[in-house]
């Protein structure tokens, strides 16, 4: 990580670090100004292509390269040459003079689009979807920014990042709904504001690890269920499988995973199927369904990662969970096998 465009000994508001690979965007906004204690600092490093969420396919945010960034920080100077005609000497001199002391009041950074002009960006961290009034105010802020010449900026954008840096919304000054991107491989989230809490980075490796753990937990659970069933005189077919491809995996580019499913048979007839439903479950840290001809139950892990799993069983007819054990499992099977 290195700082760019330091102004004397003043700490930099925004600085960039070149990625180790392929000019991906490494955008770091660090408010070192102690007066602005309410501004959070955020380091986002995306080594992968950004992908759409919510079913939109294919479009990616163009990775910004360091060379694309024209100016950064609320007190930075514009680094590039003015676009006004050099023939207009008086105007140029005035322009240069203004340029030399130009201040970007409350604009976070400016980048250039190849063959398309310059874009001034206001970056916000927002715990929730920014309200229309916040969007409106941000664009007002951009329009009234103390840039020497607003025609040095061709477009304005508002970028809103969620605190866990998993979602980036970009509004353009043309209006309309924002474009939404999922961010992958967030390396570090260093937050200074009390409004957000520091958390471990979420990246592909983390999601991959969670999936690996889940696969192990399923295998261990199914080994136990298999043992119980065999003890009860059943046979167990574990040849079938289900594909795990949850939203988190898609967001972070983790390959789908094949997980086992069980078919428990008595006298060669399937009496119970056991199927992993998902890891990222609202209300639980994983869910497996048991299905029978006339009944069903959910096995849920009530212990969050990284604790060892604790499985509880919700029979469909009952609302109180019971700790899963051999007796309870076989009781469920026997009761509903006969009905």
């Amino acid at each position: 990580m290195r700082a760019r465009d330091r102004i004397g000994s003043q700490p930099q508001f925004a600085y960039l670090a070149p990625s180790a690979s392929n000019h991906a965007l490494d955008l770091a906004l660090d408010n070192s100004d102690s007066k602005r204690i309410m501004e959070p600092a955020l380091l986002v490093r995306d080594n992968r292509k950004l992908v759409y969420q919510q079913g939109q396919r294919g479009k990616q945010l163009r990775s910004l390269r360091e060379a694309d960034i024209v100016a950064i920080g609320d007190t930075s100077l514009l680094a590039s040459t003015p676009s006004k005609s050099e023939d207009d000497f008086e105007a140029s001199a005035t322009y240069d003079q203004r340029l030399a002391t130009a201040r970007l009041a409350r604009v976070d950074f400016i980048y250039s689009r190849p063959h398309a002009g310059r874009v001034a960006v206001e970056l916000k961290l927002s715990a929730k979807h920014p309200s229309p009034s916040l969007v409106h105010n941000a664009f007002n802020q951009l329009r009234h920014a103390g840039v020497a010449d607003l025609d040095r900026v061709d477009f304005q954008e508002l970028w809103a990042l969620t605190p866990d840096a998993s979602t980036l919304l970009i509004w353009s000054d043309e209006g309309g709904e924002p474009t939404q991107y999922g961010l992958a491989n967030v390396i570090s989230l260093s937050v200074r504001s009390d409004a957000f809490s520091e958390r471990a980075p979420i990246d592909t490796a983390y999601v991959q690890h969670r999936v690996d753990i889940w696969e192990t937990q399923i295998e261990q659970l199914f080994q136990e269920i298999t043992r119980w069933s065999i003890d009860d005189g059943c046979t167990v077919d574990s040849k079938s499988n289900v594909t795990m491809n949850e939203e988190m995996m898609q967001l972070f580019g983790v390959h789908p995973r094949s997980l086992p499913a069980l078919r428990i048979k008595r006298s060669n007839k399937v009496i119970v199927t056991a199927r992993p439903v998902g890891l990222w479950i609202i209300g639980a840290a994983g869910r497996v369904d048991l299905l029978m001809a006339n009944a069903s139950a959910s096995l849920v892990n009530v212990k969050s990662f990284p604790s060892e799993p604790e499985w509880q069983m919700y029979e469909n007819r009952a609302s109180t969970p019971q700790a899963l054990n051999k007796a309870r499992f076989l009781n469920f099977v026997h009761e509903n096998e006969r009905t």
Binding site: Q54, K128, H129, E246, E247, V270, T273, V277, G278, W280, I281, I282, G283, A284, R287, D289, L291, M292, A293, N294, A295, S296, S298, V300, V302, Y314, N316, R317, S319, T320, P321
Partner: protein, 152 residues
Amino acid sequence: MKELDLAERAHAELDAEYARKEFRASSRGQINAEQRYQELRRINDSAYFLVIFGTFERYITQRAETAALARTGKQLYRHRRAWDTLIVDGEISTSFLNRVRVILDANSAEFGKIKGYYKVRNDLAHEGITARTFSVPSVVTDLRQAWRKMKT
């Protein structure tokens, strides 16, 4: 929490019906039908999550309002001035999470869970059908546990 119990039972009955059909399709090797019932169960979970949480929100509002009104009746201004800020025209008028804070310790694990479910509820309300998967009985268990800890 009678309405919550009713909603929970309605969800369980519909889920059980879909689960039976899912099992039948699975036993017959009818993969498309099996997947369709899995999807129906997931949509059913989302829909009843909204119903159940909406019912819970109403309970919160009622209890928080009762708690706040009881305290705005105090004679001395210094005893009621903070409570007065929550009541407008005789009704509690503040955000949902603030209503929860009136009756549940905001530092508690239960508050954290309610906050998390509230976010899911808002996302669902804006997004509609979602890819999320639920354990509705687990959510109900958490809401009941939180309710038991709430003050009057």
